[in-house]
Symmetry: D2
Subunit: 346 residues, 4 copies
Amino acid sequence: MIVIMRIGCSQDEISRVTNRIVDAGLRVYIPHGVERTVIGVVGQAFPGLRDALESLPGVDQVIPVTKPYQLASREFHPEDTIVELDGVTIGGSEIVVMAGPCAVESEEQLLLTAQAVKAAGATVLRGGAFKPRTSPYEFRGLGERGLRILAQVGEETQMPIVTEVMAPHDVDLVARYADILQIGSRNMQNFVLLDEVGRTRKPVLLKRGLSANIQEWLLAAEYVLVQGNEQVILCERGIRTFENYSRNTMDINAIPIIEKVSHLPIIADPSHATGKWYLVSPLALAAVAAGADGLLIEVHPNPDMALADGPQSLTFDNFRLLMSQLQPIAEARSRKLAMPAVRVNP
Amino acid sequence: MIVIMRIGCSQDEISRVTNRIVDAGLRVYIPHGVERTVIGVVGQAFPGLRDALESLPGVDQVIPVTKPYQLASREFHPEDTIVELDGVTIGGSEIVVMAGPCAVESEEQLLLTAQAVKAAGATVLRGGAFKPRTSPYEFRGLGERGLRILAQVGEETQMPIVTEVMAPHDVDLVARYADILQIGSRNMQNFVLLDEVGRTRKPVLLKRGLSANIQEWLLAAEYVLVQGNEQVILCERGIRTFENYSRNTMDINAIPIIEKVSHLPIIADPSHATGKWYLVSPLALAAVAAGADGLLIEVHPNPDMALADGPQSLTFDNFRLLMSQLQPIAEARSRKLAMPAVRVNP
Amino acid sequence: MIVIMRIGCSQDEISRVTNRIVDAGLRVYIPHGVERTVIGVVGQAFPGLRDALESLPGVDQVIPVTKPYQLASREFHPEDTIVELDGVTIGGSEIVVMAGPCAVESEEQLLLTAQAVKAAGATVLRGGAFKPRTSPYEFRGLGERGLRILAQVGEETQMPIVTEVMAPHDVDLVARYADILQIGSRNMQNFVLLDEVGRTRKPVLLKRGLSANIQEWLLAAEYVLVQGNEQVILCERGIRTFENYSRNTMDINAIPIIEKVSHLPIIADPSHATGKWYLVSPLALAAVAAGADGLLIEVHPNPDMALADGPQSLTFDNFRLLMSQLQPIAEARSRKLAMPAVRVNP
Amino acid sequence: MIVIMRIGCSQDEISRVTNRIVDAGLRVYIPHGVERTVIGVVGQAFPGLRDALESLPGVDQVIPVTKPYQLASREFHPEDTIVELDGVTIGGSEIVVMAGPCAVESEEQLLLTAQAVKAAGATVLRGGAFKPRTSPYEFRGLGERGLRILAQVGEETQMPIVTEVMAPHDVDLVARYADILQIGSRNMQNFVLLDEVGRTRKPVLLKRGLSANIQEWLLAAEYVLVQGNEQVILCERGIRTFENYSRNTMDINAIPIIEKVSHLPIIADPSHATGKWYLVSPLALAAVAAGADGLLIEVHPNPDMALADGPQSLTFDNFRLLMSQLQPIAEARSRKLAMPAVRVNP
């Protein structure tokens, strides 16, 4: 940590800063000859010290030298984390496509979709049983019934399933049915929920908050990691900007940034990042070209009639077309699409 | 709801839209002579219909005519909501100042602060027992012990208390000790938590999410109201923008906007909106000048040593100075500062 | 244009609105049975009418049915615009790569760079002679001397050149040397400058403003088009958001959106969109995967020593690597890289 | 300047950084014992060096210790700048209100407005002759005819006038008629224009760009100051955020921030910051409560019929009401409203 003093600060103000640092059990160094007084903090400072120093008179700014996250950081963990489940690996050389409807509506709808997306090359099945909705008057999902349908269809099609958990007290329930626990963007900083999924040993798909910066996102991952759950998959799903033609703005810069600063796998959700089906495929291709480890895509047998997020869902035909375009993009990045599990008859 | 078709859309595309509307049990009208085909929807449309229509071919945009919130809307509830608790009213002619430390650290710290802020004119005591923290390595509050200290000091100083609740399963616990349940900005769209505080009959202080727009904020209030709890107090606490000199940007426009579109009281939290103590007083004065019904201010006996958010806390002296400047501003808006309750000896 | 009245508006308020519309030489229609009073405007409304109606009492909102731009709109001009210059076409089936240093520093630097980028597959040479700089103390370019170097190296390597013009009174000068006139993001709404480049018959590369939405960007293009200059190339170069790890956020959503709403070609500038060289290649690949018609890339023989924007410049080696990865991505989108012009000996 | 190296950087990487610094004629110091290698730069570094160092391998970040602006900085110029013109002072103890129509439409309209705003307490007359318009199809002002009307009405009512200049070649023309040259938000980084107004000796009112941060805004002021023109007045007029209920978001935090970091006066323009007349008065009061030195307000005799920005203009009645509310707010901040000049008969 480095403390930069104001020009013309008094000796008293400098002493007050250095005393505060020494009180915290650390040492200081003060180099000479710089444009203004700079005080270096020697030793491992706790986060609150920054704030404390910043409020002292004469201090211009305090600059942390160490990033506040460690377990999520590539500096401390150089090799890539690869999440494995039932033959699917996320974060390795394969591109994983997770697809399915926004909300589970019925067994028929889900089975039809699962079969179609699997035939086209998806290897994980997505579907919401608990749906966060901006308005209390909208469809909030089938709840446990939806989970049962998911598990049944997942087994029938031999696809692992990913589904959202919204409340700490539902984590055990959802973990009984799901292979990957999804934390939605609105809950990225629901710290009680993060603690709770961190205590399970299920992979966690952590969506970026709508206005979370990359450091906050990695700190949210740190909440899960610090509980001992190392299987965190990050998911970029669009951030909020002034542009309102599309629902959100896919922050595609975030993909190579995460690859640089963290060892965790990152996938992209172009369905929520755009909100319009005709933008989903171009953005999906872009995400993989930028280095994403996979995609999360909404597909619905009949988007016009979907109970949630119809306008951003691909039809089966559009999804097949996307998968065929994806192959050469993956190869251009020296990756290949994951292969769906082959059913072995007993 | 009004559907605007693209120029040159086909008759088939128009029929598909009108059929979808009629299928939903509604009627259509198609005025002639406008620049392009426009289809009006007659009857009360459900929210999902908009999305469904927007995904149909030939459709340019779908415009909702009705706002998605009703209970929070001034159109449906023209008179101001006034929240009353123990002689303090929020949303009426008085300006209410809620003050106290960011986090409860000890009984001594809280009592000292409560006495100081009450003497200066605050009428509600704030203090955090459960603290949402961006990093898992920071101080997360004293939990139930903090609640007990709050209740005790509140009683001793005869001040109602406001404190945050972070998890649905803690609502009952917090409600036993607190007079106002605070929902933090990161939980503004924690819908399970909103449901839960909606089921209590305690006033709810609902902070605006960091990147929530006004409609989403009122929809979050709607979650509480729809459960039958009508005592919602909105709190503007700064939004996230590109500017990073201050921690957030206080959206002062929101204060008169809320007054226009909603009947709920609105207060401002300049401590979190700025993150720097020397910006707190100017912003507090500005909020009241813009029409806020009250303030939420962090005050600490020794901000340098605070366990949380020290740099944004006022000292007792600065708080007293602020209160003295506030009086004439309140009067300029034909308001007056609420008077602290007088202790009656038994 | 459609006027939506407030619930409970008076008959007088409705009459005032309809009178104002009729005064403007237009007609009205008022459909019945909708949730609230809606007034349709029949005829071509001028832009100011919206504002005028919105300020009338009883009016809730006014919704324009027609987009404010026409010449830039695909609705009015369905076929793609293809800009042609000296054998290079922009907006057709080829992906055009424009590359070169941020600022022209010397003939040697530019020639070396031009030869390297041409050898790797670039077909247009970029380089700044007039540099907009945030601080008055930074290098502002070589001015006309830079233009002469550009023209000379362009001729020597048979590459058309693109360079920025910053002031209306410099347009003639720059147009004498340059093949494409670049309008920088800070000047996207410098309307006097847009008028002026509109009067030339040189292609204009119009960068998106840092916080311009898509409609404003197309309206800026409209300024050029309305002067009779139809050769406008749009360039996405990152927008400003709260994220500050990278300098800006590349709005890759904008690429397929522009393709949908406009006939103008769109290219991407990942160098400015990211500000860091190691993010440039992933973003360049992503832009082409999303459908961009080309790229604008900063390349410098020695980025450490560049007088401007060194950290975002690729070395020759990195640029060659990028070009080799680009080929299969272009093919995946059924495009091919443009071929550099072949020098014909006289 | 301080260079922070990555954990585990090599000795070679450290040497490359220190060599680059020494090459630039500066010295280095490397304190020991910190969490990672930190290299201090001794001496006055030029801005480009930061970029150069940041692109070197092994470097994590480079932190400037000195702010990039000097002339605009309070550190280098502690006492307040007070702009004086014809008996009006801006930046001293008085609150200055500049009012008038958005666009000059006719002599009658302007005279009527000038008399009304002066009677209510305004001391500077505003009005646009050159209007920047988002669309090429909107009214762009009367040009020189508008300037003549402004000058004539200004003389008749004894009010100094402020009006916008949009192009470098118009600066002389506008300076012949105007008392204060306004630079609009879209031109905040039109550096050629800033140079040009810096060469005049007229006060410059510099509006903040829609997405400019405070440092960029002060650097734009620095462009004017460095030319020798010390009379710069800053004007906050709203920034662009995700919120779209109001046209922009008034960044009221900026007012006390500017007061802290700069000696230049700052006024607020609530008309453009909100875009809706009913938000103008609350925001005007808030700005003065936060410490603004004055206001810029749009007033029109008949807002319904205004050629530009009608919905954000106050009527004469609303303006008078605002002025009466402003007085006690100014007093609460130990300021008073400037008094209109008294006409002395010759």
